[in-house]
């Protein structure tokens, strides 16, 4: 799980890229490697223990695909559809997500720490035990989602919607919160200061 393999080129200390035996620098055709990886995942409808780190993707459809133990760290994802996908033990730390659709996802025990999230939809989703600490969330929506036991500690949140959400056991302590809507949410259930941390 999340295993990083060293590049096959002699003397190279980088890690392998997109499931190939080489790093991005030493791969003869990085674009082809990414395409092969994606075609495989879409064909199988599942991605288990895949290292996507440092991949840049523009436009793609991963709807209803099952992701388990995948590392999306340092990826740059733009206009990617994850509609109805399921995620378990996936890491997106320090990724950049632009106009991605995570609506209707079933996500459990994942991390989006220090991620740039712009114009993304997490609507109608199960976002259980998900870490959004330090993330910069702008122009995005989490409406009608279950956020049970998720964390938004020191995140920057701007122009985003959290309407009709379940905030039970959510640590909602953003560093900056501008134009946030929480209509119909049980925001009073959320932990909002250090005095009420009970672990």
């Amino acid at each position: 799980m999340y295993r990083k393999m060293p590049c096959g080129a002699a003397g190279c200390e980088e890690t392998t890229f997109a499931g190939s035996p080489y790093c991005r620098t030493h791969h003869p055709s990085p674009q082809e490697a990414v395409k092969l990886l994606i075609d495989g995942i879409v064909g199988e409808r599942s991605a288990i223990n895949i290292d996507f780190s440092r991949i840049a993707l523009n436009v793609g459809d991963f709807s209803r695909i099952r992701f388990v133990g995948c590392n999306f760290g340092k990826t740059s994802l733009s206009h990617i559809m994850f509609t109805g996908a399921s995620f378990r033990l996936c890491f997106f730390d320090t990724a950049c997500l632009d106009s991605c659709d995570f609506s209707g996802v079933d996500m459990d025990f994942c991390s989006f720490g220090d991620v740039d999230i712009f114009d993304c939809s997490f609507e109608n989703s199960e976002l259980i035990h998900v870490n959004f600490d330090g993330s910069r969330i702008k122009e995005s929506t989490f409406s009608s989602s279950n956020l049970y036991d998720s964390r938004f500690i020191l995140s920057d949140i701007e122009n985003s919607r959290f309407d009709d959400c379940d905030f039970k056991r959510v640590y909602f302590m953003p560093k900056k919160a501008v134009s946030i809507s929480t209509v119909g949410s049980n925001i009073t259930e959320a932990v909002k200061d250090m005095e009420h941390i009970y672990l």
Binding site: M1, Y2, R3, K4, G69, G73, L89, F91, D93, T94, F109, C110, S111, G113, D114, H129, V130, N131, D133, G134, D149, S150, R151, I153, L154, R169, Y171, M173, M194, E195, I197, Y198, L199
Partner: protein, 202 residues
């Protein structure tokens, strides 16, 4: 290595099964409880349960220990000599050992409790209640909070930022994210706690 996370409603804590497919063996970190799903995962993969690692002896992190000992014969590692009359292999700070084909290093981080340990296994840290996503474990005094802060800072030095953190409660994280955004890893954290603790001693 395969990691299976289990959420226990009892104490809202995380238990982890770590399976090694090369050796067909497994270890469990903090058996908060034992569920049929956990037993199924061990049995269906034909894992032999070699060890149980306890990060600290709070009941909601080791409640399933007795049940597991009735079914399997694993070695129990903790910084305690005994938990529920079960004899443990006592680990100390910086102790290294091998179980189920994994190289495990123990790091002592007292503060949340005097027996708190972190287990470092490959690129993963099983932090128990010492370090959670965004916060550190609750302490009974600002002195303990400062001690925990200093120990975490010292002992996690040298681990890369993409080290994955699997805590005893709440979602996972990475060390890089925690270094930047954990409220408890800020130098003035213990100072800011003073007013709430002082309330009880005035």
């Amino acid at each position: 290595m395969k990691i299976y996370q289990h959420y226990s409603i009892y104490g809202f804590s995380n238990a982890y099964i770590l399976g090694n497919e090369e050796t067909s063996s497994a270890i469990i970190v903090d058996p908060a409880e034992v569920t049929t799903t956990m037993i199924d995962q061990i049995e269906h993969k034909s894992y032999s349960l070699k060890a149980i690692l306890i990060t600290h002896n709070h009941i909601h992190h080791c409640r399933g220990l007795k049940t597991l000992m009735r079914i399997y014969e694993p070695a129990v590692y903790a910084s305690n000599k005994k938990i529920f009359d079960i004899v443990c292999r006592k680990v100390r700070d910086q102790d290294s050992f091998e179980e189920a084909g994994f190289s495990i290093k123990a790091l002592a981080v007292p503060g949340h409790s005097q027996d708190s340990m972190i287990y470092s296994i490959g690129p993963y840290l099983f932090t128990g209640d010492a370090l959670h996503a965004g916060i550190i474990g609750k302490t009974t005094s600002s002195f303990n909070a400062q001690a925990l802060f200093e120990r975490l800072e010292t002992k996690l030095q040298g681990y890369p930022d993409d080290t994955m953190i699997f805590p005893g409660h709440g979602p996972p994280s990475t060390l890089g994210t925690e270094k930047k955004f954990n409220l408890g890893l800020r130098s003035d954290y213990a100072e800011r706690l003073h007013p709430s603790y002082d309330f009880f001693v005035q």
